[in-house]
């Protein structure tokens, strides 16, 4: 009887030892599993961080730019919630073509930026009565009431009451096209400097555009910016500035048709040696501008159709530096604009 008791006690002890060992093994396994998971998470984070860093480095941007961009998008999201998506023009005006374009990866990103910025502008309107009045002018704008209209062929007199705003390429067009339009253009002009950059010649020297622009002076406004800004900020910041520009123009020129001019390609040689201003980047920005123009109920025009070769590069004989069109080719540009005009 006593022997049986001792034997059971021994068995119990052996069982307890086995149980403790199993428990310990299970604990070790759990710790190992946690460490593997932690290592995996750390690897993913480091890889993501490195990816973002390399992507920023490639685009010549910093983490500061990224943070600012996120800030813009956050503001836009807040504004979107305040205003409500039903008020966004893109929802009601979006065409099937735009929908298709947006389904493409790049376009989808661009379109998100565009709608976010647009709603951001609306959000600011909701906070500021004065700006709201400007927005009301915009929404009542007769130029937009039956948007979009079809392009028509016009003669040169169409441009007599047109204003062109832009960079050195557009200045070259102003000097050599022979059009009797008004050109507020300057070499090195960038959108984010619009309030301070001295562009317009006056008796008292050059002045910024909005120090000089008179109300109801123009019926058409062509804007061609974006190439010089490629080393500056992010797409969202660029579009934010573009939205501000259009809002200001519409407040002063409520009847004006707004044209968003796409960026002209550079030559293949220039594109290969300048990654910031490559044709790939230009195409991506043009896709973004195309969507942006629709959101803003403006008209996108792209003369690359007539100045680019089959590989999407500016013909090398049309330029001396790979960027600016020679004077003799301004006729092509002018004819393109004449064939792509909106008549109210």
């Amino acid at each position: 009887m006593e022997e049986n008791y001792d034997s059971r006690q021994d068995e119990k002890k052996v069982h307890d030892i086995d149980f403790d060992r199993e428990k310990e093994i299970r604990k070790h396994k759990q710790i190992r599993m946690i460490m593997i998971i932690m290592t995996f998470i750390c690897t993913v984070l480091v890889a993501a961080f490195a990816g973002v860093f390399l992507a920023l480095l490639e685009r010549g941007k910093s983490f500061g730019d990224l943070a600012e961009s996120i800030g813009y998008l956050y503001q836009a999201e807040v504004a979107r919630q305040d205003v409500g998506e039903t008020e966004m023009p893109m929802d009601s005006e979006q065409s099937p073509e735009q929908g298709n374009a947006i389904s493409e990866d790049k376009a989808a990103v661009s379109s998100d930026s565009v709608s976010a910025v647009s709603s951001n502008a609306d959000g600011e309107v909701s906070e500021n009565t004065a700006e709201k009045e400007e927005s009301d002018i915009t929404s009542d704008n007769s130029a937009e009431s039956d948007y979009p209209k079809e392009f028509q062929l016009v003669d040169e007199s169409y441009f007599d009451d047109a204003l062109f705003i832009g960079d050195s390429r557009l200045e070259g067009f102003g000097l050599h096209s022979g059009l009797h339009a008004t050109f507020y253009t300057a070499t090195g002009f960038q959108l984010h400097m619009i309030d301070t950059y001295k562009v317009v010649k006056t008796e008292d020297g050059k002045k910024p555009i909005f120090d000089v622009l008179e109300p109801e002076a123009f019926k058409k406004v062509y804007i061609k910016v974006g190439l010089n800004e490629m080393g500056w900020g992010t797409d969202a910041m660029f579009l934010q500035k573009y939205t501000e520009l259009i809002t200001k123009i519409r407040a002063l020129e409520p009847d004006a048709i707004i044209y968003v001019h796409g960026l002209i390609h550079v030559t293949a040689a220039k594109s290969e040696t300048d990654p910031i201003h490559s044709n790939e980047v230009i195409d991506a920005r043009n896709e973004m501008l195309k969507n942006f123009a629709q959101v803003e109920q403006a008209y996108y025009i792209d003369i690359n159709e007539v100045v680019s070769d089959e590989n999407g590069a500016l013909y090398s004989d049309m330029t001396a530096d790979g960027i600016h069109l020679k004077a003799e080719y301004m006729e092509l540009w002018k004819n393109y604009l004449m064939a792509h005009a909106i008549v109210q």
């Binding site: 200045e171 022979g178 530096d321 600016h324």
Partner: protein, 159 residues
Amino acid sequence: MKDKNKCGKKIIVGLLSVIAISAVGCAGKTKEITVTELGESLLSNITYEDELAAIDLETAGMIYYLENAEITNACIYESSGATAEEIAVFECAASTDVNETEAAVRTRIEEQKESFENYVPEELVKLNNAVVIKNGNYVILSVSSDPDAARKIIEEAFK
């Protein structure tokens, strides 16, 4: 006899005065030039990086503030925007117009320096060596990589 001497002296003084006035007049008179010829000479005898093209005086209002100057003739060649290269030959109606035009030309150079400073800084060399010559009713500007040649062409034109 004394009267005859007095009369002779008067004639001599009078003649000298006429000669002196004529001499001063000749010295102050500038040779008249053809603005187009000088402009074309500056264009064809200097090598430019860009392809310069002629613009008219009205269009030049985009880049020169000439509202207060009466320009009778002008020959202006402009770059496509790629470089700061430029040729401008102005013939003014009067000396006050010359001063206004010269001021406009010098302002243009300064504005171009500001524009190109952060755009194509290499062009600042040409702008810093821009040739501005005022001669009689003419004001001439040449922005190129060969300012010595430009100066020589302009001086030759007025000989």
